[in-house]
Symmetry: C2
Subunit: 255 residues, 2 copies
Amino acid sequence: MKKVMKNYKMILQYEGTRYQGWQRQESTDNTIQGKLEAILTKFTGVRTEVQGSGRTDAGVHAIGQVANFRMDEQIVCDRKLTAEEIMKYINCYLPDDIAVIAMEEVPERFHSRLNAKEKIYCYRVLNSAIPHIFDRRYVFEVPDKLDIQAMREAAAAFLGEHDFKSFTSNKRGKKSTVRSIYEIRIERIGDEIRFTYRGNGFLYHMVRILTGTLLEVGMGKRKADEMERILRMKNREAAGFLVPGKGLTLMEVRY
Amino acid sequence: MKKVMKNYKMILQYEGTRYQGWQRQESTDNTIQGKLEAILTKFTGVRTEVQGSGRTDAGVHAIGQVANFRMDEQIVCDRKLTAEEIMKYINCYLPDDIAVIAMEEVPERFHSRLNAKEKIYCYRVLNSAIPHIFDRRYVFEVPDKLDIQAMREAAAAFLGEHDFKSFTSNKRGKKSTVRSIYEIRIERIGDEIRFTYRGNGFLYHMVRILTGTLLEVGMGKRKADEMERILRMKNREAAGFLVPGKGLTLMEVRY
């Protein structure tokens, strides 16, 4: 008899500081996906896989990561579980730097990665010589003077559909490296400069290399009109440096 | 020959989580004052005392703590030191959860504690069953339904000059326990309820016991009109519970 499975979608927040990133690994139990799967596997008694909208790297945070998992309808009925009760159970066992903030049952075909239409990432740069201790885990410190206008001009070259092969650390070149960026917003908020990226998907390290390249423009080390050439080169070495993970937060996944 | 001393005022921020509070202690080097004094003593070669505007307890944070210290004018002149350079030096050696965010030379008579006219403290309560992981070190979790209007009515009884003996854990009763509170603001901001206290000074644990007592009113365990009676009792046991230090932040000291 085929089991009927219920499908649950959850919105997750985590501070990435202590973790080896989202993706479960054989070598460590210190991943977000690993923590969630361990709790759900214990809860249901059967190995439960949690599918995230995408991986986040070590040190990267999430305010709106989305994931889904399936649970045998029999378990849900026997224990008369609501989505909210499952959420509370998971939160009870999660460490204090990971939380499920919303949970709902979704149609069986919903897949958090394959159905994602847009993702929004935010990269926070502290542009000050004075430390902001309350934000220290979430910002990358760049005390240099930054030319925001030049960074905005440079960012315009990335809008639309491009092959972002120059902007990924992934060397296995089989999958498509074409992605669309719909918006790049660069704002000064107090001592902070915030880079917000909205696109249909982002390659491994892509947001961090884009930000590093834009920062080099802001510092006057590169010209704003170089960006098209970098895209054409399709070579990681043509682009700028990889900024640290701690400044990056996955803000939202849209379906 | 009498040494001429320069007097420096600094504004400090710290996350109190890891510390045994502001005040230097014989038994531990894990205090904010202790850290600052160790750095300045090493810098000047003579034992340097750092005078804070007041103590903050273990776990309590500061966004605008004020402190001052004196430094031999000869050292300043020999090394041609500006206040900003001293600030940078201190920040270099401070751990990443303490920072000096401003420093200036002030008249010799300035004393950060004795000259303080007003202090502003903020107590943050997370009024939600869903954890806010990014604020977990700065909020006290109270998932119960809270009656804001009742808490505001109760708080009105504390405005003005009163003997706050019921609202302090200090049992040595020699010093005056009379203080003036100029303002208590209770606001709902999203899932958070923020208590802001402005007064001419606060006794040991006073803000935390006031907040605990107001929360008991908010939860319906006490009536708003009980507050005057509690003040009159001049007995700690008449007041409510002591909320945890982690929700408290010293926001500003005015001179």
